[in-house]
Amino acid sequence: MQALSTKNSLKLDAQTSPVALAQQGDDVQWAVVNNMQIAATFSTPDVEQARKKVLGVTDVSCFHRYGFKGPKAAQWAVDHELAIPSNPNAWTLSDKKSLVLRLGGSEFVVEDQPGGDACQKLASVTARSAGVYKVPRADAAFILSGSAVLNLFSELCSLDLRPSSVLVSDVIMTQVAGISAIVLRQTIAGEPVYRIWCDGTYGAYMWKTLIKIAVELGGGAVGLASYQH
């Protein structure tokens, strides 16, 4: 990820992270990533690094995403040179820079990590294909880092998300804070983190909930800039 160019106010009529409404404050610096306004920093790098170690919550809704489903979705993905998990409810990396989540057996979500372009390639395929249906994505997406992440999940999710119970490749479709969400474990720059996706219209609620608990546990908001390396 490139260094982010930031500003301290939002443009109301431009594309904005679905989480942004819940993030505004004096200290937030905004950046435009993938044509979406996103919170780049919430505090100084030292403070954010400290939060990350305990419980950092980062909004990454700006990552490109592409969804599709249908009985022929898996074959369609392979035809378009996308690496897909062989098992349902699992994820893999395609071309090292795009997460490919298999939801159940026949639905897929692709998310480009910084530098990835799988979503744009798939989006450029305009021809409709029988048995494959595009699923527009407008997710709120988060990275959760730090030693207290499981304490947070303990309050928000009834499933056992401990590493001893969840495979690295598992995709978990569950309820987090009472709403439908996708959860998985990922390693970013050598750091084990958890990821959450939910419907973007719940984004502000989810952010507020995550941050409230994170702060109680000694963590807090971390801007996207802290992951730029």
Binding site: P18, S154, C157, Y202
Partner: protein
């Protein structure tokens, strides 16, 4: 009077730290670790509370979280259980349920008129004369309930957490601790939970005058501490059993829902009081309570005491009392058999009365304490005292040990079958669901060594259940005499022999209930209220069952038990509420709405802008102004909360044919049709629009509130029908804007290349194009106005399009309108809304929606019910109505009744004043006889005034 003993081995108090607090205005000193009750008792305070009904003086009974007559308040919290709540520095405490304090409670006179107030008296009294009932109701309501709710109670976060473990063990007594070690040794994760502040159970206090058990406990706890995979949780209770081994654990700071792979219930048993006259006096307490006072808090229960028992346990209590410095004057044993402990007890100078009972405890003059006990021989066959020879023993306390009842609530809730074991005189599990194991006293095993063996057996069984190899130990039956007496009740002519201390229920109350016909245990419970107090029958249900069995001359197992439901123990509402998650959805325009003064309303999961009042403008004026803008020029509304679902695939039309009431197979691409969803009984669930975007693609827009439920039902139907299609819920991915009003077309035309002429883009059609450079689906609808366009666009780009429309419509005075205004506008159009103008019983015939039904289709959901319903006469029908011109009276409201005399003809479903029409208009259900145009009916307003309404045609708007 100071009843504090010398330091006890393993005591829970810290004698180096003193605490000062007040109770009922008097200052007391305690030690850190004391409960409120133990501190007061140590200081010689005998009257700790008053009973619920008769306001009798009460003291320590169990000291085990069940002393519900000893509820105190600190001014913030109410109904704190003094027997277990730790005393803190500076506490200012008062007993609840008194007038004038515990010692001089003005309501104590009620005890003297108790013969006038038997159980159930209020069911029969106060009904006549009827005019006096409100007075009596007030009196009864004041008398009922305990404590005063503090409406200023601070909001204290009580987290609700989820955790997981391999084995959850309930009860950290010797049985549970032993089981925990065995399971932990196998490498599994164990959580063991106990409601007491410290682990050990009876091993910590049932010493029988020996330190051996204390040493055994220390060794066991050391062993447990050596396992890092044992999570020992004390001061928390397992509150219930839910499927798949989900058990909520309640602690002071919140609830933890534990999901375990297997559960061992080693929850022990509750000691049960024998029933004799004045068994409730302060100073009469359970033997285990006396032991807890001694060994946990270093408090001598009384100075000169009597032990009344019906098992060997009472002899151990006697030995502990002697060690604590109490002079035990007698052990009174209902049984005639000799106890193995009787020799040892006798050696300590205690006289033993086998085959005797305490006929009556003697009260001090103010009934605040014990001054003696009357002992009589006991006829165990007839269960009566032989009063020909009474022995009076002067004493200041009586310890009672007559038996036990299993703490089996969770086993019952899990579906365990129980049987009555006459060897131990208690219900024991006979068939336990898979993955649950019972051990120890709850399993009918009482001797310590046997309990440890039973814990081992249960742990090994749990290991085998989890697929590990472990020995298959056989269940050992209890050896020795029964720990419980079959009928520890002593009738007395003067009564006041209490069975249920929560509700002051005596033996005679059960007899009377049975005479009244309430001779089934569930009925008896409800008539007498036994077990319905805060302790939930933990000390009374078993005796109640025994009494009923005797009354009906049936074996106990034929009486059965009452139903055990979660939560097992009263749990504060704050715990149940937890953090209080209130999930809600926001559109991408939410901030814009907020910054432009919108007042929000909750619709389904969404926060929607309801209206936008100008400074100082009323809600009504704001809505009328917004509606006038739509009628006269143009308005826009954020409709992003509408449900939006795509149906892809070759069978998409076939799916809609089955799912909705109309015809879709012949629907042309580019056109829209109305959809109505029914349930199988023919009741209207929702409606909306189906836009055909391609032969194999329909785009559905449906109501906000039901969107998630409709999508789930679509998925469920597809699971059954297995058609060639895919469902995609795009509710959150796409936003929607509706521009409506005479200028709508002109404004929209500036932002799109689409031909908006009425010929090219007629009503009820759909087009895909760009608006303000953004890909959009445009739908011609007439929900709020004859000229209206819905634009469905990616949610993230909603603000761009919204702003472009506002800019383009500036010269027309475009303004936003909210969902409340939308309701008025659609009412003016005469459209009924499911969920507003229908309810959970309304079928399409009743709203005049026959036009939406294609009854001769092969199938649609609800069709069969409609075929039956259409043959029946209508019972109600939705009609449009107006109030009189220039109506100025009290405006009727939604749900006001339509009446004819005292007969209810129907109700208002929607009503509003329309400034544009200058008339109050509405929709109402009326009987079929009132549906003719021009018919009039009466609406009764909230204040009872009748308002005349006239049936009219829709739409209300003049074309």
């Amino acid at each position: 009077m100071n009843l504090r003993t010398t330091k006890q081995n393993g005591e829970w108090i810290n004698r180096t730290k003193r605490i000062n607090f007040s109770f009922e205005g008097e200052t007391f000193t305690a030690y850190e670790g004391d409960t409120i009750s133990s501190a007061l008792w140590a200081a010689g305070q005998k009257v700790l509370g008053r009973s619920f009904k008769y306001h009798r003086a009460r003291g320590v009974l169990s000291l085990a979280n069940h002393d519900v007559n000893i509820l105190v308040t600190d001014g913030v919290d109410t109904n704190m259980r003094a027997d277990v709540v730790l005393v803190k520095e500076g506490m200012v405490l008062n007993a609840v349920n008194t007038i004038g304090g515990v010692k001089k409670d003005k309501n104590s006179y009620i005890d003297s008129i108790s013969p006038l107030l038997p159980v159930g008296f209020y069911y029969k009294a106060f009904h006549t004369p009827r005019r006096l009932f409100p007075f009596w109701e007030k009196v009864i309501r004041k008398a009922a309930g305990l404590g005063i709710v503090n409406f200023d109670y601070p909001r204290i976060l009580k987290r609700k957490l989820h955790t997981h473990c391999d084995v959850l063990i309930i009860g950290a007594g010797p049985t549970g601790l032993t089981a925990a070690c065995i399971v932990a040794e196998a490498g599994l994760e164990v959580t063991i939970v106990d409601e007491n502040q410290q682990a050990g159970g009876s091993l910590g206090y049932n010493r029988g005058g020996s330190l051996a058990m204390a040493r055994q406990l220390t060794e066991l706890l050391d062993k447990v501490a050596g396992y890092s995979n044992i999570n020992l949780v004390t001061g928390a209770y397992a509150a219930g059993y839910y499927p798949d081994h989900l058990i909520p654990i309640v602690a002071n700071d919140g609830i933890t829902k534990v999901r375990a792979k297997t559960v061992i219930v080693a929850s022990g048993a509750f000691e049960q009081p024998p029933v004799f006259r004045y068994n409730d006096l302060p100073g009469v307490m359970l033997g285990s309570a006396a032991q807890r006072l001694i060994y946990r808090y270093g408090v001598k229960p009384f100075n000169n005491g009597v032990v009344v028992t019906a098992n060997d346990y009472g002899y151990r209590v006697a030995l502990d009392l002697i060690d604590a410095g109490t002079k035990v004057l007698a052990v009174v044993d209902l049984r005639t058999v000799a106890s193995p402990f009787s020799v040892e007890v006798a050696k300590r100078g205690v006289k033993i009365y086998p085959g005797h009972c305490v006929y009556e405890a003697l009260a001090s003059s103010d009934k605040s304490s014990v001054r003696g006990a009357i002992i009589c021989a006991y006829d165990e066959q007839k269960n009566v005292a032989i009063t020909s020879k009474k022995i009076t023993i002067e004493c200041d306390g009586i310890a009672m040990s007559a038996g036990w009842a299993p703490a089996g609530a969770l086993l019952y809730q899990a579906g365990t079958s129980m049987q009555f074991d006459y060897g131990v005189q208690q219900f024991v599990p006979s068939r336990i669901p898979d993955g649950i194991f019972a051990a120890g006293k709850v399993n009918g095993i009482y001797e310590l060594e046997q309990r440890i063996n039973d814990g081992t057996r249960a742990a090994n069984a749990a290991l085998r259940y989890l697929g590990l190899s472990a020995p298959d130990n056989a269940l050992q039956k209890h050896m020795g005499t029964s720990p419980s007496h079959a009928y520890p009740m002593v009738p007395h002519d003067k009564g006041k022999n209490f069975v249920d201390f929560d509700e002051d229920i005596q033996i005679k109350d059960f007899v009377n209930a049975a005479k009244e016909g309430f001779d089934n245990i569930e009925l008896m419970k409800r008539f007498t209220t036994v077990g319905m107090g805060p302790s939930q029958g933990k000390h009374s249900n078993m005796n109640a069952i025994r009494i009923l069995a005797k009354i009906r001359d049936l074996p106990v197992e034929k009486i059965g038990t009452t139903t055990s439901r979660p939560f097992f123990h009263p749990t504060p509402i704050g715990h149940l509420g937890g953090r209080g998650f209130h999930s809600h959805r926001l559109t991408a325009l939410h901030q814009w709405h907020a910054e432009h003064g919108a007042v929000f309303t909750d619709i389904g999961a969404w926060k929607r802008a309801a209206y936008y009042p100008a400074n100082g403008q009323s809600k009504e004026d704001a809505i009328q102004a917004e509606a006038m803008a739509v009628r006269n020029t143009v308005g826009i509304i954020d409709g992003s909360s509408f449900g939006k679902i795509e149906v892809h695939g070759a069978d998409a039309a076939e799916f809609l044919e089955r799912f909705f009431t109309g015809v879709y197979a012949t629907q042309k691409v580019g056109s829209c049709r109305y959809v109505m969803l029914l349930d199988e009984s023919g009741v209207i669930v929702d409606d909306g629009i189906a836009s055909r975007l391609a032969d194999d693609l329909f785009y559905l827009s449906i109501g906000t509130s039901n969107a998630a439920a409709v999508y789930r039902e679509m998925q469920r139907s597809q699971q059954m029908w297995q058609l060639d299609l895919g469902l995609v819920n795009v509710t959150g991915a796409l936003g929607a804007i509706n521009i409506a009003g005479p200028a709508a077309r002109e404004i929209l035309a500036t932002l799109t290349d689409l031909d908006l002429s009425y010929e090219s883009f007629p009503m009820s059609s759909v087009r895909e194009s760009k608006v303000a450079g953004v890909e959009a689906r445009l739908i011609r609808v007439a929900f709020v106005s004859d000229v209206g366009y819905e634009m469905h666009i990616p949610m993230a780009q909603l603000p761009e399009v919204w702003q472009a429309l506002l800019d383009a419509g500036k010269k027309h005075g475009i303004r936003p309108f909210g969902s409340d205004t939308q309701r008025l506008l659609r009412l003016e159009m005469g459209h009924a809304m499911p969920g507003v103008d229908t309810d959970g019983l309304t079928n399409p015939f009743e709203i005049g929606a026959e036009w939406a039904l294609k009854m001769n289709k092969p199938y649609f959901i609800g069709q069969r019910s409609l075929q039956i319903l259409e043959k029946k006469p209508l019972r109600k029908r939705l009609v449009a109505f107006v109030l009189a011109e220039n109506f100025k009276g009290e405006m009727p409201m939604d749900c006001n009744l339509v009446l004819e005399g005292r007969e209810i003809l129907g109700r208002i479903t929607s009503i509003a004043y329309s400034k544009f029409i200058d008339r109050s208009i509405g929709l109402a259900f009326v009987t079929p006889g009132k549906t003719a145009i021009g018919s009039q009916f009466q609406i009764r307003t909230d204040s009872g005034i009748s308002v005349t309404a006239t049936v009219v045609k829709t739409p209300f708007l003049k074309k």
